[in-house]
Amino acid sequence: MTEMLEAFRMVAAPDVLVAILASAIYGLVVGSLPGLSATMATALLVPVTFYLSPIAAVATIITASAMAIFSGDIPGCLLRIPGTPASAAYTDEAYAMTRKGQAELALGAGLWFSAIGGIVGTLSLVLMAPLLAEMALSFSTFEYFWLAFLGLMCATLVARSSPIKAIASMLLGLLIACIGMENPAGTPRFTFGIPDLLGGVEIIPALVGAFAVSEVIRAMVTPEPPPLPRRKFGSILAGQWRLTKKYQVPMWRGNLIGIIIGVLPGAGADMAAWVSYAMSKKFSKEQEKFGTGHPEGLVEAGASNNASLASGWVPALLFGIPGDTITAIAIGVLYMKGLNPGPTLFTERADSMYALYIIFILANIIMIPLGIAMIRVASLVLRAPRSAVMSVILLLCAVGSFATGNNLFSVILVALFGCLGFVMERNGYPVAAMVLGIVMGSMVEQNFITSLIKSDGDVMPFIERPVSGVLAAMTFGALLWPAGVWVWRRFGGGRLPAAETPR
């Protein structure tokens, strides 16, 4: 109980409250601008977190990412351009509602069910994390290897891409992670004689390049989106309670799917939204209405992507394995602030953990008033000329990556990863899989090699230990799933609608 009070005291500190408010506004604005994703919003925040207290630093990341995921619904609904990839699954549906004159209902559903999803996801984090922490204490390098590898495999199942290309992207990320001397033997690898590469490729420049600079490059070769017509909105929350009662089952299913996908290492909000939208369509009593402006899918997927955001912190806090690209950044910040992820975090730093839960709940509550305000000024924000936004973003990319180590080499890395990310995305290679490969590369290798040394080169312990056997089966399931779908589509039913294959 004293820990709980201590946690409240920590969150109520003025610097934490200011950080929450400022990052909420930042997240809402960045998320609503098409092309600027929640991951990018978080990556650009990292240099700022250097100078904040530990709780304030974590608070900015939690708040900004939650706000950005909701806010991505706004341009999706009004312009048919998703603000963040996690909104892409139901953009067409929301836009169809706007065209039917139900923009308020669609935006309100995005906001209301995002907040509910976020709170339910947080409760799952509160309940699950301590239970799993107990189990995690008995984990050895074998289990950690499989967990990290499972995370990588889940990342390759991310929507809308060929699984082979996704695996290739992930392997490319792992190869990039090999650079430097951060390996079990301390041998410099693939450094090409460049001293700056001895320490390996830093994760923040890679993220900023792959997500932000590639987006700036894309803006150079795509036409500017149409300006948003000025409009007056009616009441945003009117009718949401009716929707909540009417679509209770889809809402809870969305929350549940979001939580499960979030807990899986490597799979995040984008995948949760795609899977939930497909589920909603499949189980709906009114399937024919989907795509014509029907709120049911919006309810389910909107709740799902925010629920996954909170439960994505479970593997991050327990094992240091990111649930998605946002928590990949968060893990770096946790280490920097002395809150090293691991099962003991829940016993030794319980007050900080409670503070984290409180911040999650708080962020999702203030999302409603701030979100309504954001919707009302959206036409103003979205009117900002793209030429101004993108040129300032590029400047921030340069300064932000320089700030992570006061090293100009990071700026070169940012430029390289920007080109790489742009080319990969153009050719259907998912960038997120590569980034997770870079983040988890040294962890996978470390645990793999240590396990092999422990077992004297024997692979049996990898599958003999009970927990690691289950994890191994899940990993191979994720690997073989696309092959199974392909075979089934080819020789079996052959009528499997494309939207239902979790890709």
Partner: protein, 158 residues
């Protein structure tokens, strides 16, 4: 830059092969079977397999074609359309090369100006933006976050 799957697949095969070869030449740790060579070799072999499969077009049925509207042709200097993509990375390299000599404010102003004009802003917007934005970024990073941005030719009064 849209490349065919054969090209990207071939690039992956070459990259994977090079990684596996270079990995196999890494020195082993004396008295141990697995060392720094094992992981790059595994990844290299994996990349070669993926590259071959991609070049053969396997798994393409999973891809969703995204109809992306390119810039319509014949709109000003659009013949150089593809090269415009190189402006942002070129600007970042420009930053690396000159920031220590010119200082942060002039370098940042050039970057913002070039980017804004390249994205089609009118000079009426681009010039004020190029003057104001670097000052705000400098204030935020230099004063608030204490990042040592070089002063160069134009030291700031704060």
């Amino acid at each position: 830059m849209q490349l065919s799957d054969r090209v990207t697949g071939a690039v992956l095969v070459v990259l994977g092969g090079a990684a596996a070869y270079a990995g196999s030449r890494l020195p082993a740790v004396p008295g141990q079977d697995v060392g720094p060579a094992a992981f790059p070799m595994l990844i290299g072999i994996g990349l070669v397999i993926c590259g071959v499969l991609i070049a053969l077009g396997i798994g393409r049925s999973f891809e969703v074609e995204e109809a992306e509207a390119e810039l319509p042709a014949g709109q000003g200097a659009r013949r150089l359309g593809g090269l415009r993509a190189l402006i942002p990375p070129a600007m970042l390299l420009f930053y690396v090369l000159v920031v220590d000599h010119l200082g942060f404010l002039p370098t940042a102003a050039v970057i913002v100006l070039v980017m804004a004009l390249a994205l089609g802003a009118r000079p009426r917007l681009a010039v004020p933006l190029a003057i104001i934005a670097p000052i705000f970024v400098h204030l935020a990073f230099y004063k608030l976050l204490r990042v040592p941005l070089p002063a160069g030719l134009l030291p700031v009064p704060w």
